[in-house]
Amino acid sequence: MNKKTNESAEPKQPAYVGDLLLNGTTVLTAKTREELADMVNDIPANVRYGAGAAGYNPETGAFTLRVDIIND
């Protein structure tokens, strides 16, 4: 059986959203839900990723989305 480790895989090539390096598990942070959706649209088409549920952090007032890069 193919037993993988419980770690996010590294992307084959560095991919960025703005200045943010997408690397393994990355949390996208934005001021609004719409801005967060724009950041998702900016993820390069050749990067396969799994998105979690978008959330709101009441402590920082930020909208967040966890993105796990899939390397297969």
Partner: protein
């Protein structure tokens, strides 16, 4: 001192560091001694004599953090075992393990996961891990990692979209939806053999299945226009009557009426197995649909 629940926590090993399950609200550890009755005709009276034959353990944890839904769904799909630990945590941060004498660690499969996205409610996840192999005491102090401050996800911002068949993209959101849950289950089979040392049961994954349940308010005889692109009861009934799989996706949403999909969390095909319509007197009429996964799901788009 009596320990409070917030200081009895489940930790998972990530990059060689133990990290608490973030935003957890409850956890349960179940340790089981499987027994055989060893009473024989030689014993006088009626009493049973249970003897331990094997030992098994499982861990359940509930949390408000659904941001790692993609990672958890990937772990189940890839049959990835987790290294888990339970421990007393420091009251200073509720996160740093104290290596209590009752702390134990072991390897377990995430064999059951439910994600619940209900309208105007914080979304939840409920995970069940089933141990495979021995539980160990914590001999050397492990490295701990703090949990990053988490985000809450209101259920109305995660919605189910259906297509009309197994090839059409799932573009229509369930209109007037109230609840949504995704339940993924891994079948584990006891793989303990005479070769296995000790008393601990070994588990082997043998199957995966999932189901989606959603409920919505029934709308009157107004059809949902293609510009709004909502899935109403009539089209759900069409899906039921066709009796063939349809494409689905669960996605983060925004825009007017929270109907515009942004990032897809998970997608796949499903068969509508049950549709329940309910009309209670002086209350909103509702319907509930249960959809069973058809083939593997895809994490992400």
């Amino acid at each position: 001192m009596i320990l409070k629940g917030q200081n009895f926590r489940i930790l998972t090993l990530v990059s060689n560091k133990f990290k608490c399950v973030g935003m957890a609200t409850n956890c349960t550890v179940t340790l089981t001694n499987n027994t055989d009755d060893a009473s024989t005709k030689d014993d006088v009276g009626m009493a049973a004599k249970p003897t331990m034959t094997s030992q098994a353990w499982s861990v359940q944890v509930e949390s408000l953090d659904v941001s790692d839904a993609a990672a958890m769904l990937t772990a189940i799909k890839n049959l990835t075992p987790f290294t888990l630990m339970w421990d007393e945590t420091s009251t200073a941060d509720n996160q740093t393990g104290e290596q209590a004498t009752f702390a134990r660690k072991g390897t377990a499969y995430l064999n059951d996961a439910t994600f619940q996205f209900d309208d105007r409610t914080n979304s939840t996840k409920s995970l069940q891990f089933t141990g495979s192999g021995a539980l160990e005491k914590i001999a050397t102090a492990p490295t701990y990692e703090a949990v990053a401050s988490g985000s809450y996800t209101k259920g109305q911002f995660v919605r189910l979209f259906l297509g009309s068949d197994n090839t059409t993209a799932p573009a229509k959101v369930i209109a007037a939806a109230k609840t949504l849950s995704l339940h993924v289950s891994m079948t584990l089979e006891d793989a303990t053999t005479k070769d296995t040392p000790g008393n601990w049961q070994i588990q082997e994954p043998t199957g995966l299945s999932y189901d989606i349940t959603t409920s919505a308010l029934m709308r009157g005889n107004d059809t949902i226009t293609s510009s709004v692109a909502g899935q109403d009861l009539a089209s759900i009934e069409d899906i039921y009557e066709a009796g063939t799989p349809v494409r689905w996706k669960i996605a983060n949403v925004g825009g007017d009426n929270q109907r515009t999909a942004s990032s897809t969390i998970v997608s796949g095909s499903c068969l509508l197995t049950q549709l329940t319509l309910n009309g209670p007197n002086r209350q909103n009429a509702t319907y509930q649909a249960t959809l069973n996964g058809y083939g593997a799901y895809t994490v992400g788009a």
